[in-house]
Structure formats: structure tokens, C-alpha cells
């Protein structure tokens, strides 16, 4: 969570907001912010921490684990029209890759702006593909797997 905070300026510069959410109450969020997070990130997490009592929001997103009473580690990228564009769910003990989150925001934005497709490992400046009849069966002529890395 503090890793997301460390890259928050970059995320905001892309026109994106971050919302963290767990089943904890807003008061618990406040105590955690003031007692611990603010010691790791000056001023605490810069983005809102939402409360999901009883996991009713997590339930809608398919990440509420009823037996444990918690929301598992799911991440959802929602576009400016409110449409879901990317999602990832990790085991509780496995942390996220913030750089990959940011890459996916950039890729989704590129696709939205250009109507093109971003191949595996795409980063800004790398080759994108224009979907269409002329590309069918010919991707290998303009793209190779080493370009993904």
C-alpha cells in the first residue's frame, strides 16, 4: 500500500485516482494511518481508504472471502466511463507490482485513445498493433516475442 503511495504522483499524472478498500472501519483506517503508515509515508497514504463493512462491495467484485470475513487482494482498473478494463487477484500473502499496475493504466489509455492493440510487454514508445484484416496471420512479420522484454 505504501508502494502505491510512493508512485502516487505518477498515477495522478495519468488522470487516475487510487481507492484502497478493506472490511475495516474508517476509524481503524485512521488509527493505522496515524499510528504506522504516516511513519512510512510522510503524511500517510495520499489516497482514500474505503470501508467495506461485511464485504458487501467485495462480494460484488468477487473478492470477499466469507470464511475469513475479509476482502482478498483484488485490483480493478475502471475507465472514465465506469467500465472495468483490467483486474488481478493475488493470494493474501503475495504483494502487488505497482510498476505493472501503472503499465496497465498506460496501456489501457493508449488502447482507448488510438483504437490500437498493445502486444505483450508493451510500454510507451514500443510497437503497437493496428487490428484489421491486413494484420491477420502477419503479426509475426512485425512483432516477435523478444520485443515483449
Amino acid at each position: 500500500m505504501t508502494a502505491v503511495a510512493a508512485k502516487y504522483d505518477e498515477i495522478k499524472s495519468l488522470g487516475a485516482e487510487v481507492l484502497a478498500i478493506s472490511v475495516d472501519s474508517p476509524y481503524t483506517h485512521k488509527v493505522w494511518q496515524e499510528g504506522e503508515l504516516s511513519k512510512i509515508i510522510p503524511g500517510g497514504l495520499p489516497y482514500p481508504m474505503l470501508s467495506d463493512p461485511g464485504g458487501r462491495i467485495g462480494e460484488q467484485y468477487g473478492v470477499y472471502a466469507e470464511e475469513d470475513g475479509v476482502d482478498i487482494r483484488g485490483r480493478f482498473l475502471i475507465d472514465p466511463d465506469g467500465v472495468l478494463q483490467a483486474m488481478e487477484v493475488l493470494a493474501p500473502a503475495v504483494g502487488r507490482n505497482v510498476a505493472e499496475m501503472i503499465r496497465q493504466i498506460r496501456a489501457c489509455q493508449y488502447v482507448r485513445q488510438t483504437g490500437e492493440a498493445t502486444p505483450a510487454g508493451w510500454e510507451p514508445g514500443k510497437k503497437s498493433l493496428k487490428p484489421g484484416e491486413e494484420l491477420v496471420g502477419k503479426v509475426c512479420q512485425i512483432w516477435s516475442p523478444d520485443m515483449a522484454f
Partner: protein
């Protein structure tokens, strides 16, 4: 209900903590922006 890429994300309205105060926050507040919504198992966890 299943969530699916390409479909509207489930909407919500709930209480949240931000910049020292507790306020009501809803997904619709962010229409026109990209939103990275991330769930995590609980406060005071380590990852």
C-alpha cells in the same frame, strides 16, 4: 453477479478515511477519471 472486463464495474457508496477526515465516497464521484480500486485483506497487515 460476475465482474467482467468490458462491462460496467459494480457501483458503490461507502464511508472512507481521507486526509484526516471520514467522508462518504462513491464510485460515481470519479466518473471521467481512471480509478484503480484495490482490495486488501486488512489494516495492520504486512504486504
Amino acid at each position: 453477479m460476475t465482474v467482467r472486463v468490458g462491462k460496467p464495474a459494480p457501483t458503490f457508496e461507502t464511508k472512507g478515511y481521507h486526509q484526516g477526515s471520514i467522508k462518504t465516497i462513491k464510485l460515481a464521484d470519479y466518473k471521467g477519471q481512471w480509478v484503480m480500486l484495490y482490495f486488501y485483506p486488512g489494516d495492520f497487515t504486512f504486504v
